[in-house]
Amino acid sequence: MQCAYTIFIALVKHTARWGLLLVLLLSHSARLAQATSATSDETAPLDYSQSKGRLHGTAGATQLEGSAGGGLVPWAVIAAYGSAEQVGASAFYSRVGMPDFELSSAGFALGLYNRLELSYAQQRFNLGSLADALALPDRVIRQDIFAVKLRLLGDLIYTDMPQISLGLQHKKNRDFLVPGVAGALDDEGTDIYLAFSKLWLAGFMHRNLLVDFNLRSTQANQLGLVGFSGDKNTQREWLAEGSLAVLLNRYIAVGMEYRQKPDNLSFASEDDWYDLFVAWFPTKSVSLVAAYAQLGSIAGYDAQNAWYLSLQGSF
């Protein structure tokens, strides 16, 4: 109960900060009520206010680095629901609560003609226990992420081949003091990834099944929050990541994710990430994702089992 209260307060605080999302939510709350009632009432009014041309749920949510995808992992899909002749935008706020740390991420994305995605996100990593233990001058590490994603080939649903996209996430760590002391060599770096996503209609027990697989080249320690490169390894590495999601109906998906991580610092080891998530898409304008994530060891603190909440508005 106390946890739910803390989540609620945290969300309220930050929605206030990110007023855009609040406005979005309010303006769509009526529609939201419509869409939820449409599932039970056969004569409910329709939700056509959003003329965006891709199918419900297929724009995904926004992952931690601001790219359209799941929670931890980007997908090959382009942000918002615009089809080949449309432009869309989305904004998000996500929060991850760990036993010893806290991470929030917020930003926005533009989706152009179902071809190109441009996005910006800022992450704030609260050092929590580590800051207390070492009496650190910085409690928060901020990181800016500018990203692009280009759809190269295929269509998520309508081609036999998966949708394939190439993405770049350029990251700039803005509070490099602690990462530098920890042994990181750079305060900025660029991840390059190739994403393969496919939705199989009636693919799993007659439910629609989404499968994503990515290959990522990176030097980032803990997404870049602990800098880039390190005393143990200075090379780029190709790492694998993936998502598996089953759409229970048009509005709810459940799934899991995996993200392989580098291990560049001798100061603290870094583990691969896993999560289990539930995503709710009441309308094309709003999505809410809740997840349980195992983030392993972070900055010397083991077993960071976390809750994850993400709110996205899309228009």
Binding site: E42, G53, R54, A84, E85, A202, G203, M205, H206
Partner: protein
């Protein structure tokens, strides 16, 4: 000892069951021919499909994204032909004898957005008629291969 053996067998059985289930799931991922009539039956055969097409047209009539396209076409002919198509696609005994999808949609420059709007309208019609998610998805799967023959023609 007996109960231990029983536990052992139930564990083996469970493992076998999981194996069989996961194999059948894996097989389900592979494309199946549209031969069996179970989807046709689940749709309520020809009478159910006629009702679905009618409901679909009601939904379209309220959808500003595509209603104009439909108003410009011969609605009763569309109704007849779409019903025959769904009947054939779902494994029913009908044969669609109308023009090819390219011919019907050629020159109309149907956009991705319009195609998906029609898909959503069909899903909404099925929701209103309380077809299960499974039936909705199975029908959509049979219709999806038409997309490249309709969009951008």
């Amino acid at each position: 000892m007996l109960t231990q053996a029983g536990v052992y067998f139930s564990v083996v059985n469970r493992l076998l069951l999981i194996l069989v289930l996961s194999l059948s799931v894996a097989c389900g991922l592979i494309k199946q021919p549209a031969a069996d009539a179970s989807l046709y039956q689940a749709l309520g055969e020809k009478a159910g499909i006629d009702k679905l097409v009618e409901e679909f047209l009601w939904v379209v009539s309220e959808d500003p994204r595509v209603v104009d396209r439909f108003l410009k076409s011969d609605i009763s002919r569309f109704q007849r032909n779409f019903s025959l198509q769904l009947c054939e696609l779902s494994g029913g005994p009908c044969r669609y004898t109308g023009d090819s999808m390219q011919r019907v949609h050629g020159g109309h420059h149907i956009s991705e957005m319009e195609f998906n709007a029609v898909v959503e309208d069909l899903l909404t019609a099925m929701e209103r008629l309380q077809y299960s998610i499974a039936v909705q998805n199975r029908l959509l799967k049979r219709l999806a291969p038409m997309q490249p023959t309709i969009v951008g023609q």
